[in-house]
Each structure stands twice: as C-alpha cells, then as structure tokens.
Symmetry: C2
Subunit: 401 residues, 2 copies
Amino acid sequence: MVQVEEAEAIIKAEVKDFGTESVPFEEALGRVLAEDLKADRDMPPYNRVAMDGIAFRYEAIEQGIQTFNITATQAAGDKPVEIQSAEECVEIMTGAALPASTDTVVRYEDLVIQDGMATLQTNGINKGQNIHAQGKDKKQQEPVALASQVVTPALIGVAAAVGAKELQVKTLPKVVVISTGDELVKVEETPLPYQIRRSNSYTIKAALQQYGLQADLLHIPDDVATLKRQLNNCLQQYDVLILSGGISMGKFDYVPQVLEELAVTKLFHKVKQRPGKPFWFGKHDNGVHVFALPGNPVSTFMCFHRYFLPWLQACLGIGAKSSLYAALSKDITFNPSLQYFLQVNISLNEQGQMLATPLEGNGSGDFANLVEADAFLELPAEGCNFKQGEVYRVWPFRRKV
Amino acid sequence: MVQVEEAEAIIKAEVKDFGTESVPFEEALGRVLAEDLKADRDMPPYNRVAMDGIAFRYEAIEQGIQTFNITATQAAGDKPVEIQSAEECVEIMTGAALPASTDTVVRYEDLVIQDGMATLQTNGINKGQNIHAQGKDKKQQEPVALASQVVTPALIGVAAAVGAKELQVKTLPKVVVISTGDELVKVEETPLPYQIRRSNSYTIKAALQQYGLQADLLHIPDDVATLKRQLNNCLQQYDVLILSGGISMGKFDYVPQVLEELAVTKLFHKVKQRPGKPFWFGKHDNGVHVFALPGNPVSTFMCFHRYFLPWLQACLGIGAKSSLYAALSKDITFNPSLQYFLQVNISLNEQGQMLATPLEGNGSGDFANLVEADAFLELPAEGCNFKQGEVYRVWPFRRKV
C-alpha cells in the first residue's frame, strides 16, 4: 500500500515518449504540437492598411496640404498602387498592402470625398497611423506556436495563415480499455436480475476521445486461461492497457496474478485513498504500461483522472499544468486515514473565486452521481475535519472555464 | 450602432429550436440531451455486495455465533445462493447480488477462513454493512440525466448502464462558414506579397467541432453578382451563415447590401465594442440567421465567442451558464467609449481565485496573440481606468478548469 503522492511519483517516473507524426492541420484539434510552428513570412506580411480610407505621405500634412487628388483605388488583394507626389493619395481598403510611396492612412470617417478629391476633416493626424506594420506581430521564422502546445481553434487558424498544411504532433499511445467481471453484460442485452451492463470502458473511451485518442474496447471473462491469453495478446499490440476490475481481494480477482505471470512487473498495488484503494500499476518487460483500475465506476473514474490523464499529458509533453485549487463551501468530515476524493460541484462566484460544493454520492458504486458532479476535491489523509473556506486541490472532469 | 447588451438581447430574441435526433450513445459526446434519460432498473438493480468476504444473517451475531459454515461461493454475476440457517454463510464477491436469505457482509480482512469455516475477527459489525442497497442511487424510471445536459464521459457510462443504445439529442443547425476578401488565398498556395491565406474560417470550423458540429466552408470573391448568387444558395441550404469580412466602410464591402437585397433583414449593424465594431446580424424571411462578423481575425474570434456561441448554446437548450468573473492582475487604461474585450491569460491562484493577466496584442489583426491567450475580459464602455483586483466578466476560449 502506497500513499497517493508515492503512487503519483512512481507513475511519473514511467513517462514515455510515443514519438511524433504528421497530421493535416484541420484534423489536429486537441493534439499536441511536436515542434515549433514558424511564421513563413512576417506577420503581417506587409504594412497592412487597418482602416478603409486614403493613403498618402505624411509630409503633405507638414506642407499644409488638406486636399488630395485620388490617383487610384486599391482593394485588399490588389498590387499596391504608387503615388508620385505629396498631393496625391490612394483610396485604399482595410487589409490592403500599403503602397511604399505612402506612410499614413486616414479613415473615411475623417474625410470628405468629392469629384475625385479627398479632403481631410480632422487635424489630429499622426504619421504612420492606421497601419499594422509588417512583422509587428511576428517576424519571419519566429515561432507562432511552440512545441508542447495543445492545438486550439486559434492555433488552427494560425497554422492556416502560415501555410502549415500538415502539423507535426505527438503520436498518441495505442490504448485498449479492458473490462473484467462476469456480472457484466453487453449494453444491448437485458441483464438477468443479478447482472449489470458494462459501462466503465465506455466512459474511459469517451474521456480519451477528448484528446483525439481512439481506444479499443475489450471484455475478458473471469477465467484465468482466457484472461492470460487475451492479456498476452494485448501486451503485444498496445502501448497501454487500462483495465477495470479484478484486482481486489475476491477469489476471482485474477488480474494481478495473471499480469505478473505475463512478465508485467508490479510497481504498486493499493493506494491509501478512497475511492480507488485497490489500484494496481505495472510495466511489462517490453515497456507496455498497465493501469489496472478498480472496477467500481467511481473508483475507475477517479483513478483515470488522478493518475492516468496526468501521465498521458506528461507523455505527450504538455507543459506541466499548474495545480488547481478550490475553496470548500461547507464543512466535511472524513475519518479514515485515507486521501479522500470528494465529488464536488465547481462554481465561480462574482469575485472570481472557485468554490467546491460537496456532492457526496453513495460510495464508489454510485456512478449516477458523477453525471451531476464537476470535479474531485482531494482532501489529505492526515485530516478528518475539513472546514468551509479551506482551499484544496481540485481535479475537474467537466468543463467550467 | 448598438451597445453590447442590446446586440446580445437582439440575438437572444432569435433563439431557435432545431429539433431532436437519435444518435448512438457512443457518438453522443458533447451533444445535448433532448430528453431525460431514465433508469431502466433500480440503481443498483439488486442489493449489491460492496466487499469481498462472506454474507450471513445478522441474527447470528445477536445469537453469539462467530463461526460460520461456508455453504457456497458466489461470484459477481452468479445467481444468488441461499442459506438455510444462521450458522451458514456464503463466501461472496464484490458486485454480487446479495442472497435474500442474508443481510450482512463481513470483508475478508475481518475473517479467518479455514476448513470450510469462516470465523469473525471483529466485534464491530452492523446489520446491513457492506451492502449497496437496491435502488439507493436511483429508483427505476427515475432520471439519471436530464434534458439539456451536455453529454459527458460520465453520462455515456450511465447511458451504457441503463441500456440506452441511442440517445435523443438536440439536432445541431446546419452551418456554413463563409470567408470573403480578395486578398485571401488557399492554405496550400504561396501568397503574392500583397496577399494572405484564409484562416478565420478554419478557426471557426474547429471551434464548432467542439460541439460536434461539422460546418461547411466556402470562400466567395468580392464580386457583387457572385456574392449574391452564392449567398442566395447558402440561404436555401443552411440554418445559419457565419461570414467573415466585407461588412465595414470599404468600397468592396458588399455583404450588408447584398444580404438586404436577398431579403435578409438587418437586426443590427455595428456594436460599440473593440474589437468587432462592424458586426452585422440579420435574419432571412425563411428564418435563416446570418452572423456577418468583421474580417479581422481577432474581431471574428471575439464576436464568435461573445455572440454566436451563447446563441448556439441557447438554441440547443443548454441551461444558461452562469457568467464567469476574473480579477484583473494589473491596471489597464482604455479610453475610447467602447466595450473593450481585452485578451487575457487566466490563472487560478492557491486561494482558488481566478486572475486575468492582460496579454494585449497589436490590435484586431494580431491573431498570433490569440494562440497565447485564454479568454477575453469584458471591460465596460463607461470606464477608462481599470484597476488591479477589480473583477470583470470573462469569456474563456481555452480550457482551464
């Protein structure tokens, strides 16, 4: 039996790099950049007109010129039109490349245009105004996004802008989610009175989808020979096995024994926590990792979020996220000397503070409660009485911010 | 020109129901439930054994019995095995259905088992202990998830458990994202010195993907006849048009004029805000909504998050989210009497308070800055000097909690 922090450290020591791959930028949402994404040109790539109006030389203002001869009209996307003298201007649109012969833009709102002439209606003109200068945001070859960033919609837009049709991203591990337990029947079946349907593996598969990871599902009956054969197959085919069930004190909890027979070294078994005490973690000689989670749905869910996801994020090189904290909204008592993962609702008050409101269910079998909850609040094993206003670490599993 | 709050109210009045549809539960992540999901049986469906050990009658304890004859072993998924007397017990596993002839479970840790007999090693036994009672979490036909909930991984697990192979979810609107602007070339092209690549539409498409919405993309050149023909097609084929560009003061900003010629009624044009002032919103006679967003990437992005997404969420019936607030981490001055949407990084300090750290870019063209930012902080039009510690509404676009 290990402490939560020991379990965390053992798992952290097993972080592994699954390599990189190239994916079309439009399919990269949620993936992790494997290399810096660089600007192919300056951003903006030219002195970009930022207002619809006219462009001219600021020296005209110094010379007292107020009315300009409109030489030409230049739309965004047009080749720049040059002027020959300070008396001339170009009628020019937002997004156009500023002609090299001009340096200042005045917007329509500050002009009167009549008979091919534009007359200024304002005095407060500054040289270079209404121009988004070439390279002001990024210089050519400067990174616009860094390796280890998660690909967001904004990043996809920037990738499009710099012409990165393919993005180098971290390869995701091949994951199989394995359920065990002879009481479990298929979703489409009507269970006998003493049976239930499989559910844990669907939850985990869906949670992995949020990272773009498509896991395979497998159910193995509680039979030593079958378990051994199928786990052995999985250890050859996948990078990670996530199991649920079969690791506790029961007579048919064959998973730890079979895993060890298959050369999966136990790195720990049992963690001082509730829920999720029976959690087993190990590594095969060939490097495959096995997260054998307890079968109770709340335990599975908690261990997945507290241990597996941070490991996955570390494997993908996502910059270590800072821990999140929330304040308890009411007193809680928990006597066993176990780290207690309390289900909570998260809210943000009008001062911007994150509050955790306990939403205790009926123990680790009560997964209906997870549908209502937003996060686990991690209450340390040392304490028993946790007071309103005290701040603890929080592990969110439903998006709030 | 309208205020932000007026624009918001006008859009809110246009909320529309796109109906419901049935999808396989495994594909429902991120969708919105259209009806309550009910328990097909009690949850748990039987008195569920919560520890590996033995089950017997509590009256044995009252009679002073400490050693039990093990009648049978019952695994999870086995039909319950009944006992005939208080001297008997069933060796029983977590997840099994408690035999009706028993009422109490003692775990292995509190037993010695030898020669087919189990002897108690503890005195503190309570009637009914280690049993997760039938129906304790939910009664048959009680909802396990409510209409308007977003489908989470936990909800997918519960759907599996209650045998809901298909879920009734809200139908998503058919959306086309249209870019305009003759300076825009395809992502795979090398732009001329005065051209740039399309990017806004990819950003919006990716942001919609997070709701399971697959938008179509279209680019229309700045030509009145083409614009009219293509917008007319779109108005027949889609529920919503999201445009970027072509709505400002420019000579080639034909979008508002063409939309009105196509019987799209303008509901507002221009909002007192920065970025995003030129925002145009209207509705076709046939009910199709048109969000014509400014073409500057930061403006597009802001208007999409501040106006389009809340409208979409309301259309899907997602319970009105409470507003989010964050405290400014440093003073900010903004003089124009416009609502200012400041790009910020969001962090949570160890007191659980959400802080907004300004990350001002180089204006509405600087979309590289969006890759670094997490949210927009909405600073009211009335003020100019916004002080450290003051709390304002925040619109997150990158997940933090």
